[in-house]
Every structure is written in C-alpha cells, then in structure tokens.
Symmetry: C2
Subunit: 238 residues, 2 copies
C-alpha cells in the first residue's frame, strides 16, 4: 500500500501501475487487474482505483474496453506494404514476436470473383485459410487467404505444417512472390471479428485485399485482411 500521504492515493496507485508497465510486467495489449482486484491489492475503495485507471487512460498508457476491462495501450504496429509483404519480417522489424493462428484450412471450389483475381476458371479448386496474426500476444490482423490448389500441389498440407506462407509456398516450388495490387477501405468490426481480434464490435478496421504473384506474374494468393484501426498503421513508401 502507498505510504506517502502527501501524494493522493489514486496517484500513488497510478504511479505503481505505470512503473509495472514500464518494467514490462504488463505488456502492450495485456489486461490490467480488475477494479476489485486492484482495490484489494492496494487496500483502497474502487472509486480510488477508478481515479488511478482514468489517469492512465488520459495519459494514453491504457485504454478501457466496455465490459472487458482496462488494457495496456500498444503503440500502433507499423506494417510496410511494398513489393514484398512478409508478415513475419514486418512484425520482427517492429520489435515484436510474430505468430499466426490458423482457424481453418479448407479446399473448395472458387467463386467467380476469386476466379477472376487468381486467373482461374470458376469452380477450380482453391485452398482457403483463415486465421489471426499476432504481434507479441496482441491480435493485429484477421486474414482469409485464397490459393490456387492446382498450381500449388500439396499446399494445404504445407501451410498446416509451416504456418509461414512464404515457407509453404517455397515447399510448393514458389521461391519468390511479389505484391501485384493492394486495395484498401475501412469497415466496422462484426461480432465475430471483434471476438477474434479482442476489440469492440463496431470498432473501425482497415480492410485490405491484395494479390500476390510469382516471378512469372501468375497469381499465387488472393488475400483479405482486417487490421484493427488503432493497432496497425500500414505504410507505403514510393
């Protein structure tokens, strides 16, 4: 419990939490203890805890999510979009640890829009993977990627084995691939997206669609990606 009675109690608690965050005890994206837990830990009432948390929120050190609690605010991850967009490289370069969590990998017939973008016949088989990309423990993107199955024999298995798209493509003979086009708009998070990305329903998302091609210019991936608007900044340098 704070002992210096000249400093208001809430301020001592705010300083204590600020120190724990600075020391890395709570990392960007981490949930802080609940008001009840903090009140018990510091031996104060919840009103005082709320003052301390409000102070951290005003100072842009934490943010609250309705019904979910208070979280350490992460600086937006810079995500370069260029000729070669590589998730693992991008996140590593921003000083964070990249992981991917696949929700599903399925093979099915492509629809007319996928066929046009991947230069396939409608109904040709495609591998569709969906999942979440994380930087440290924080979800920074939700993706749905579509790959031409006949051009990439064994791709579904390779993707399940490697998790890295670059390595899975390599296993199927694609030694390099480049971004042919990127299209960007914004959309409000659905309930499913909000749950997967740990954000509020309706929160603004950057919605990107992109086509990657091999060294012959043949499409090898059509990707849809949803980035939480306050966690990721896409950067483009000419």
């Amino acid at each position: 419990m704070p002992s210096d009675r000249k400093t208001p109690l809430w301020e001592s608690i705010a300083n204590d939490l600020r120190g724990a965050i600075a020391a890395g005890h709570y990392k960007p994206g981490d949930k802080l203890p609940t008001e009840a837990e903090l009140a018990a830990r510091f031996g104060v009432n919840r009103h005082t805890v709320r003052q301390a948390l409000s102070h951290l929120i005003d100072a842009k050190i934490a943010h609250s999510r309705r019904g979910a609690g208070t979280f350490v605010l992460a600086k937006p991850t810079e995500y370069p979009i260029g000729k070669r967009v590589r998730f693992h490289q991008n996140i590593t370069a921003s000083g964070q640890r990249p992981t991917k969590s696949h929700l599903s990998i399925e093979t099915r017939a492509c629809d007319a829009s996928e066929a046009r973008l991947l230069q396939l016949e409608t109904g040709a088989p495609v591998v569709v993977s969906t999942g979440i990309s994380l930087a440290d423990a924080l979800p920074v993107a939700m993706f749905q990627s579509t790959y031409p199955a006949d051009r990439l024999p064994g791709f579904a298995g390779a993707l399940a084995a490697h998790s890295s798209v670059t390595k899975a493509l390599e296993a199927c003979g694609v030694t390099d691939y480049t971004r042919a086009s990127t299209r960007i708009s914004a959309t409000a998070a659905t309930a499913t997206q909000a749950a997967a990305l740990q954000i509020a329903q309706g929160a603004p998302l950057v919605f990107s669609t992109s086509v990657n091609v091999d060294d012959q210019g043949t499409p090898v991936e059509f990707g849809k990606t949803w980035f939480p608007g306050d966690r990721v900044t896409l950067t483009f340098d000419e």
Copy 2:
C-alpha cells in the same frame, strides 16, 4: 399509382424507384423522398412504402441512415495512390465530377510533428487548409493539408483562388510534386466528421497521412485525409 394488381404494390413501387435511379433521376448519394412523400405520391400507406424501400436496401441499391432517410447507394470510388496522387484526376477517371469545398485556410506556426514531416524549424509558418472533397455531390474525403509558407510565397491566396492544390502549387513555382510516403489506419468518425461527410457518427473511416515532395525531394505538403470506409477504396499497384 401502379395498376397491375398481380404485382404486389410494394414491388411496383420498388420497380418504379429502381427505374428512376437507373435513369439517373436519383443519383448515387441522393436522398430518396421520405416515406410520407412516397406514400402520398403512390397513394399507399407507409407500411407498403417501407416494404419497397427495404427491398431496395436488400438489393444494395439504397441504404438507410438512422434518422436521416434512405439514400441511393454509390459504388465505392476507386482512388489510386501512387507516385502522383491528384484528386481531380482520380475522381474524373472514376467518371465523377470532382469538387472541393474549403472550410478554412489559415497561416500559423507549425508544431513539432509538422516541422519534422515538412523539414522545418518548429514554429515556422505553415498554411493549413481544411475542407471536404466531393465526387459528384457526395463527400468522399475530409482533409487537413499543411504547407510550408516560406517555401511557397503567396500560397494561401493561390489556394483560395484556384481550389486545385496542383494549380496553387504551380502558381508558387512548384511545377511537379510526388508522393513520398503514405500511412494508413482506420478510425471512427467523430460528430464533426460525421456531419461534414454526411455519415453516421462512429462510422469507419480510412485515415491516411501523406507527404508530397517537389522535384528536389523537398516536402511541399503534409496531408491528413479521412475517407468514409464504404465510399472510397484506395488502390495501390506495384
């Protein structure tokens, strides 16, 4: 009033409105008549009008904005981001008529962030213009652009006279400028942005910041732009 009694009334009204939209009588972004007006025009009750409007909304021909009415849905405007980003060219190329409405043009001292991006000393004078960009009558962007006043003598007057940034820069001796960098995130529309862009408060916006440089690589503009997420798709081709 529709006379073919085999077609449900609401469907005749929906077809009538669909025809008027197809004929260009109501253009993308236009507000359709109110339920009361349509009920009076077609001699039916408001329930029937509501059925007709729901049909247009389901068919993605119109959309309703809470408290504001029903509007003809516009296909998103494609907005290419590349080496040379020109608002008038971009909107004209998408088959629409570009206009800009300036809300303010002021000269003031720049802050530390503007100084860094424009390669100025903090406190150097900058011209800051804010306004709305429209495609046909529909707001497609809200902007705040910052220009180095000392590098561009007479720029504030030129901008007020020309409205086109390209022409105003030309008048100050900048015959060409190119995009050096673009950064993109998403944000929820504030009340002010919502009113200016005629969208709902909290609606998702693409938020772009960019730096344009002259042929010597010297910054001539730092721009912040907010695009309604469902009206504009930014496109990037490698």
